[in-house]
């Protein structure tokens, strides 16, 4: 995969102009996590209304892959029900990114999803669609 394919335009766009960037006042759900290996940090805030994601914001530090993945994920969950959010799995995130990732960068790509799941479930657990291949 060439460098231009890896850092394809949409990834760079989400990295440089992250969607839903920031924090929410009085969020219904807030979750934070970090990947100590590379120092990535993320916080995701959610406003829930009628069991749907009314608003979402994320903030933190990270590489282009982790930030782009978080940005794409927040776009994907806006307006979704919590059950729909719970069904999003790692393949969905990898499809959004659309690139092949080695084991180290895979952790970057999945940090936002992991954090989001911790938030919506309230506790860390095996998520639907995962577990078998983890």
């Amino acid at each position: 995969m060439s460098l231009d394919d890896f850092y394809r335009q949409t990834i760079l766009d989400h990295y440089q102009n992250p969607r839903n960037w920031g924090t929410l006042e009085n969020p219904d759900i807030t979750a934070q996590d970090a990947n100590p290996l590379c120092g990535d940090e993320i916080r995701i805030d959610l406003k829930i209304k009628d069991d749907r994601v009314e608003a979402v914001r994320f903030s933190g530090k990270g590489c282009s892959i982790s930030r782009a993945a978080a940005s794409m994920l927040t776009e994907a969950i806006e307006g979704k029900t919590l059950d729909e959010v719970k069904r999003i799995n790692r393949d969905d995130v990898l499809d959004m990114l659309g690139i092949e990732l080695g084991p180290v960068r895979l952790k970057c790509a999945l940090l936002a999803l992991k954090t989001l799941k911790v938030g919506v479930y309230g506790v860390q657990q095996n998520w639907p669609g995962e577990g078998e291949d983890e």
Partner: protein, 422 residues
């Protein structure tokens, strides 16, 4: 002056070694990465191996593979002789008083754990102080944390200044009290800083503490002299000095080693075993339980020959030239911050950041040009916290690196800047 006989395709000591020719001894540079020639700038993690070392491994397995110290047949005696010969080479390399002061281990980490367990558990008690520095690799931090937790001892740290040097202004206060051990790196694996170990050892000894040195980086880059440093223990790995992975050694003063209980129990480390108890073999063999890493240790002997043929003076000079070029070329890129002291105070290691671009992204861009660098906290999380960054990109050099490698590094960093700021 007597000319050294070249060994197995090595070369006689020269005032100016031919680093272009040296690179040709390393088969890995024939391969390509992402279609580009491999440019390896991660020697601090592990060095590449010259064909002579690879051949030595092959030669051992093909001609005299046998367990050591046991067999009374020819190849066992040959293997034992070659293994023990390396102990002598290491003793000479470090300027130890005797080969008895050299214990083979898996490497730096195991060597430090040997000290923290065998010496530490006997000599460190509740309230005692273990003095470390803020720039330690996790391998010289975590074993002491484990010991401190077990014994109720306290950890203290020599701080670093803004230039990445140890700040010794408060050393007397840090050494005040029941300080039992001072353990520090000789050459920082992130900052490249060369620490004044001899001075710290003198002041530590005056307070009755022993001194443990992590020489994982200093031995390959600048060489060490345990008598000049006057350290009590010194730990290093073979694989960071052209040798194979999985072997290394601990130097220890004979009296200290003699007084220590064993670390691991098993075969070879005993004198006599009864069902209820055992007596120990003499130093250093009482610390070498089980079958040791014979092949890799013998091949490390070949690596020592190779490095000594080039000479530490030439290696240090070569590294400095590459560091200087790195400072110059990276310095021309706006937004680059280099961590650590000036060129003349460091070994062949340069950690840097570029604006707020994550180290992973820089490393990925470089990887696509065939350039291998390290991105992350380099097993020194507390140091990165102190530097105020989560991760840095690190380029580190050894004898096979050439100025063209640094040009490729700078070009790649420039490319990363362009890519992420357009």
């Amino acid at each position: 002056m007597k000319t050294l006989a070249p060994e197995r395709g090595g070369r006689a000591r020269m005032h100016e070694p031919d680093f272009v020719a040296i690179r040709k001894d390393f088969p890995i540079f024939q391969r390509k990465v992402h279609g580009k020639p491999l440019i390896y700038l991660d020697s601090t993690a592990t060095t590449q191996k010259p064909v002579q070392v690879i051949d030595a491994l092959d030669h051992y397995y093909k001609t005299f593979n046998a367990n050591i110290h046991r067999g009374v047949y020819a190849i066992a005696e040959e293997a034992t002789a070659r293994y023990e010969e390396v102990r002598g080479k290491v003793a000479k390399l470090l300027n130890a008083r005797s080969p008895h002061e050299i214990v083979f281990t898996r490497g730096t980490t195991e060597s430090i754990n040997l000290v923290s367990n065998a010496w530490g558990r006997k000599n460190v008690g509740p309230g005692d102080v273990i003095l470390l520095t803020e720039m330690e690799h996790h391998s010289n931090l975590v074993p002491w944390q484990i010991l401190a937790a077990e014994k109720g001892a306290q950890l203290r740290f020599i701080p670093i200044d803004g230039q990445g040097r140890l700040d010794l202004s408060g050393l007397d206060a840090l050494l005040d009290g029941p300080v039992k051990v001072v353990s520090l790196t000789h050459l920082s694996n992130v900052l490249g800083t060369i620490n004044p170990v001899a001075e710290i050892a003198r002041r530590a000894h005056a307070r009755g503490a022993i001194v443990v040195v992590d020489a994982a980086q200093s031995l390959p880059h600048i060489g060490v002299d345990v008598r000049a440093l006057d350290c009590d223990f010194l730990a290093f790995s073979a694989h960071k000095m052209l040798g194979p992975t999985g072997t290394g050694a601990l130097y220890g003063k004979r009296a200290l080693l003699d007084a220590m209980p064993p670390f691991l129990g098993g075969g070879e480390m005993i004198r006599e075993v009864k069902l209820e108890g055992s007596t120990w073999n003499e130093t250093p063999w009482k610390f070498e339980a089980g079958t040791m890493n014979i092949a890799d240790t013998i091949a490390f002997g070949t690596a020592i020959d190779y490095v000594e043929t080039i000479g530490f003076e030439a290696i240090t000079k070569h590294s400095r030239e590459l560091v200087e070029l790195t400072f110059r070329l990276l310095g021309e890129i706006p937004g680059v911050t280099i961590y650590g002291p000036p060129v003349e105070e460091r070994g062949g290691i340069v950690a840097f950041s570029l604006d707020d671009i994550h180290a992973h992204d820089i490393a990925t861009v470089l990887d696509h040009d065939g350039v291998a660098v390290r991105a992350g906290h380099h097993c020194a999380m507390p140091l990165h916290r102190k530097l105020g960054v989560v991760a840095t990109t690190r380029a580190s050099f050894y004898v096979y690196n050439l100025p063209s490698d640094i040009a490729a590094l700078a070009e790649g960093v420039g490319k990363a800047k362009q890519l992420f700021h357009r």
